[in-house]
């Protein structure tokens, strides 16, 4: 495509977003005709930094990925508009659930809650545990704890333990049991952390918020003197 034609397309897109319209039809047309021109208009150096443009771009992702590597594409889309960052991250996680670059991208988009969107997207994938591990190693405790609370799955707590984050693992254990009282999350954490579990289990007690979860935790603390003793003391107050 000629330089002049590309410039005209960029102007057309800029006018559309200035008028408050997402240039969907134009992007769909380019996706079918010239993916390099599409990429130039949407994520090129002179692309309009507009959430309307990014929203329209999310509808032509397969064509954009033909023209530009996914890692660079999603980083650029995130950088183009703050308002659509979460949608971009969700789309990236759904299309590339196992990509390593999702971990730093999550950090950029979600901040301290990094991992929440990605892990939700891969919850039914066999690599869920591996993705939890990647976020745990990146220090994304808040996102993992939020995931444990939302899904009631044991992997976030176990991978926090594996990464050596005892307090994060302890909090995730409790959030998991709040959502899924029958969960074997403590056994998962033990398998990841190792058999010297009493100090970590003792930390779970400080994260308890209700008697029902304390009751769910209690059988797992049998035989752990420090944790079991703390729980016995705290249960009376819950």
């Amino acid at each position: 495509m000629s330089r002049e034609r590309l410039a005209a397309l960029r102007e057309e897109v800029a006018r559309a977003v200035e008028d408050g319209h997402a240039p969907r039809a134009l992007l769909q047309q380019l996706a079918g005709q010239d993916v390099m021109a599409l990429a130039e208009v949407v994520v090129g150096p002179r692309a309009a930094p507009s959430p309307l443009l990014v929203s329209a771009a999310l509808e032509v992702l397969p064509a954009l990925e033909e023209a530009i590597a996914p890692k660079a594409l999603y980083q650029r889309l995130v950088a183009l508009a703050v308002e659509t960052r979460a949608e971009v991250l969700t789309a990236a996680a759904e299309r590339h659930p196992l990509a390593d670059w999702l971990v730093p991208l999550s950090r950029k988009v979600e901040g301290t809650a990094a991992g929440t969107v990605h892990l939700r997207a891969v919850a039914d994938h066999p690599a869920f545990e591996r993705c939890c591990q990647a976020h745990a190693e990146a220090g994304h405790r808040e996102g993992l704890v939020a995931t444990a609370a939302a899904l009631g799955r044991p992997e976030p707590a176990a991978m926090l333990a594996l990464a050596g984050d005892a307090d994060g693992a302890a909090e995730a254990v409790v959030r998991t049991l709040e959502r899924a009282p029958d969960s074997a999350v403590v056994a998962w954490v033990g398998a990841a952390w190792g058999p010297g579990l009493d100090p970590l289990l003792a930390r779970t007690v400080q994260h308890l918020r209700d008697g029902a979860t304390a009751a769910a935790l209690a059988p797992w603390l049998d035989g752990w003197p420090r944790a079991g003793g703390l729980l016995a003391a705290v249960r009376r107050a819950l």
């Binding site: 176990a158 074997a184 056994a187 998962w188 033990g190 190792g194 058999p195 970590l200 049998d222």
Partner: protein
């Protein structure tokens, strides 16, 4: 400080399924135990971890109970004998679905007279000193034997030079294929301290 006992974890994220540890401090002798109860092939991870946890917890409780029955002034020989007796009379649930066929136990017992090491189910053993792990015995030594409940009381290796031994490390025999040649170091001597600690589940 009496040496501790640690077992090598499996080369996977959930490395310590079925592992247990306990310490018993008597008036004359102190015992450190590291163990593993195998649960055989269980495809579902959650079911495998539940079974391993249940068996290891039951075995730990049974061993602890048995050792609490020993005389407070028991020496290291008595403590070791009590440990093996406690293993043999532990409830069936302590041995997991394999009936104890995959049970590994490493015991390090210390009193004023010396330090003894006894085990079942190890393929390698190391003495951990400040400079790192060093092989404790040669391949074929009786300390290295098959897993499972012992038919006779396992022998005891008395450490010739116990000073400076911080811990005795053992590798459960099912990990032999992952450790390279039997007369090698198992890849441990090149590991930095933090990585070594992680492989053995040694946490702060």
């Amino acid at each position: 400080m009496a040496p501790s006992a640690f077992l090598l974890g499996d080369p996977e994220r959930l490395a310590f399924a079925g592992h247990l540890r306990l310490r018993h401090d008597g008036q004359r002798a102190r015992l450190a135990v590291a163990g593993r109860v195998g649960v055989g092939e269980v495809e579902d991870t959650d079911a495998r971890l539940r079974a391993a946890w249940a068996a290891a917890s039951t075995l730990r409780a049974a061993l602890r109970h048995g050792l609490q029955q020993a005389a407070p002034d028991a020496d290291r020989h008595v403590l070791l004998r009590t440990l093996w007796e406690s293993l043999l009379v532990a409830p069936a649930a302590a041995h997991g679905p394999t009936g104890g066929a995959e049970t590994t136990l490493l015991a390090v017992v210390t009193d004023d007279e010396g330090v003894g090491v006894a085990a079942i189910g190890l393929c390698r053993a190391w003495a951990l000193r400040a400079a790192g792990p060093e092989p404790l015995v040669e391949p074929g030594h009786p300390l290295l034997c098959a897993p499972g409940l012992p038919e006779r009381t396992p022998g005891v290796l008395t450490l010739d030079a116990p000073d400076g031994v911080q811990a005795v490390l053992g590798a459960p025999s099912h990990l032999a294929p992952t450790l390279g040649p039997a007369d090698g170091d198992g890849g441990l001597s090149d590991l930095p301290g933090a990585a070594l600690a992680r492989r053995f589940g040694i946490r702060p």
